[in-house]
């Protein structure tokens, strides 16, 4: 049974429809990329999956997350699924971390909730050990110092690693990564991407990876959906879509990515 089944999902702002009937499904351990330019509806799709559309936006159609309908349900029914089934990593880690809470406290919250959910008692020493283990997993040096730091005191790459640790510490089966590397510089981007890739692979999680960046998506996703103006215009195995695109829009995207790549490789 698939972990996530999206059928004919629409997102509307009042009378205006922004996402026009997107359908796909995602099995355990599968890695799906959602590609498109900004405004193509990829982030709206992701937020609709966890039932967290901004006020004024409404979802239609059906989203089954672990067998539970996410569209049109009261919020209190969805709260237990968030974190436990699906967790999200956002684009801008500066905005996604509470500026007035120490990093250690922010990381402690999902660890505590997971322990409570699984009925485990968590002593202060256990919590400490888990915090440090998570920072170690996301390759952050000097964990003791980082736990005591404020979000503005660490670099963007470190913040994003902590955000990834926080999402994974929830213990989800599906990780939704919404442009997780876009706000980072290129070398940090590669490191964070590799890290995300190996963590998801090791834990056997499903991944929904959202990006406008074709090469980035091709590194982590087995399958991609190309979105344009709220519609899925092409879907298929990553290798096939990038080597043999069928839709004219996808062809354009792939050609543009190729041109950029060759321009970068040609010495000036």
């Amino acid at each position: 049974m698939s972990l996530l089944t999206v059928t004919d999902l629409t997102v509307s702002a009042g009378p205006r429809e922004l996402v026009h009937g997107v359908s796909f499904d995602l099995g355990p351990g599968e890695r799906l990329g959602l590609v498109g330019e900004s405004g193509s509806g990829k982030s709206l799709t992701a937020m609709a999956i966890v039932g967290l559309l901004a006020p004024g936006l409404t979802a239609g159609g059906s989203v089954l997350l672990d067998g539970q309908q996410m569209v049109g349900q009261p919020d209190r029914d969805l709260v237990p699924l968030r974190g436990a089934v699906a967790a999200v990593v956002f684009q801008d880690s500066r905005a996604a971390l509470d500026p007035l809470m120490r990093l250690g406290d922010q990381l402690a919250a999902p660890i505590r909730r997971r322990a409570a959910r699984e009925g485990r008692a968590l002593s202060a020493a256990d919590l400490r050990a888990e915090q440090i283990r998570w920072l170690d997993r996301v390759a952050i040096p000097e964990p003791e110092r980082i736990l005591k730091s404020w979000p503005y005191e660490v670099s963007g790459g470190q913040r994003q690693r902590i955000a990834i640790a926080m999402a994974l510490a929830c213990g989800p089966r599906l990780l939704i990564a919404d442009e997780p590397t876009t706000a980072l510089d290129v070398s940090t981007q590669a490191e964070v991407l590799d890290l995300l890739d190996s963590l998801v692979r090791d834990a056997g999680l499903s991944l929904l990876f959202i990006s406008h960046d074709l090469p980035v998506v091709s590194r982590v996703a087995d399958r991609v959906i190309v979105m344009r103006q709220g519609r899925a215009v092409e879907e298929g195995a990553t290798a096939r879509v990038f080597t043999d695109p069928q839709n004219p829009y996808t062809q354009g995207l792939v050609a543009a990515a190729r041109r950029l790549e060759s321009a970068l490789e040609t010495p000036a």
């Binding site: 937020m47 966890v50 967290l52 901004a54 919020d75 209190r76 709260v79 237990p80 699924l81 968030r82 974190g83 436990a84 699906a86 967790a87 999200v88 956002f90 801008d92 905005a95 996604a96 971390l97 509470d98 500026p99 007035l100 809470m101 919250a109 999902p110 909730r113 955000a163 926080m166 999402a167 929830c170």
Partner: protein, 283 residues
């Protein structure tokens, strides 16, 4: 520069120290006919005496205690009710939120003086508590409006969405993320409101709607001394200076706090700045 903050701390600290001192020591009894009528300032009576021979300095010191009590009481009451209402309004559905916002606007437009008269009429007469209640209620509407805007702004932040994505309910989010993030701004607003509450208390007791004698507040002292202002000007100058020192000190303190917050890069939008300063619980 933290000069404002320090001036504020010294002036408010002085008033607070005097207020605390009156609990254990006073130069004379508050109702004691300690000297001649309307005697000029002397070593025995640095601010002179009133027409019944009571020591002005003693009364001004007691006034400091009343001003601080009403200021703290009203600010706590207004802050508590206002923050609760503001957060609830920000969370409410569109229609309910609009209704609450309109109600707050009406409450803010409602004169504190009328509210105070209502409270006095509904209780056993004017007292310290009616003043605190009236000023606190008026203040809560102003704080609620500010908190509503601040909460709405925090609610649009990614870290709130991120917290919700990780399965946190609204109750926990309010206490873990929203309140700590709006607290610095509320603190500045409450400091400003504290100063306005002290003025409001003086105005209410000037009109006989505040603390009854013999524990005269500054407003009441001013009212009683105005008929003898030419024969004994210290009766007006002393409570006036005391009132100015406390209110000025509080405003310096609030300004200093605001500078501290601004220097952390948490600048307020012009709208919020306006919300902070423009309206107080004045009659």
């Amino acid at each position: 520069m933290k000069r404002n903050l320090w001036i504020g701390i010294v002036l408010v600290g002085l008033n607070a120290a005097v207020a605390l001192l009156t609990l254990v020591w006073l130069p004379y009894g508050p109702a004691e006919m300690a000297g001649g009528r309307l005697s000029p300032p002397s070593w025995a009576h640095p601010a002179g005496t009133d027409r019944l021979g009571r020591d002005y300095l003693t009364q001004v010191m007691i006034g400091a205690r009343i001003a601080m009590t009403v200021g703290i009481g009203a600010t706590l009451l207004g802050g508590l009710i206002g923050t609760t209402l503001g957060v609830l309004a920000a969370f409410a559905r569109r229609g309910l939120d609009d209704a609450l916002a309109a109600t707050l606007d009406i409450l803010i437009a409602f004169p504190t003086l009328l509210l105070a008269m209502l409270v006095v009429a509904a209780s056993d007469g004017a007292s310290l508590w009616t003043a605190i209640l009236a000023i606190g209620l008026a203040m809560s509407a102003i704080i609620a409006r500010l908190v509503r805007i601040l909460t709405k702004r925090v609610l649009t932040q990614d870290y709130i969405t991120a917290a919700r994505c990780s399965g946190l309910g609204w109750g926990r989010i309010t206490f873990a993320h929203i309140l700590p993030n709006i607290f610095p701004t509320i603190l500045v607003a409450l400091a400003l409101q504290f100063g306005l509450a002290v003025i409001a208390e003086a105005s209410l007791s000037y009109l006989g709607l505040g603390t009854p004698p013999p524990n005269a507040s500054w407003g009441q002292l001013l009212q009683q001394a105005q008929s003898t202002v030419f024969r004994a000007p210290m009766g007006v100058i002393a409570p006036g200076l005391a009132l100015v020192s406390l209110v000025l000190g509080i405003n310096f303190l609030a300004d200093g706090l605001r500078d501290l917050i601004d220097s952390d890069g948490e600048a307020l939008t012009p709208d919020e700045d306006l919300e902070l300063g423009v309206k107080g619980p004045l009659p």
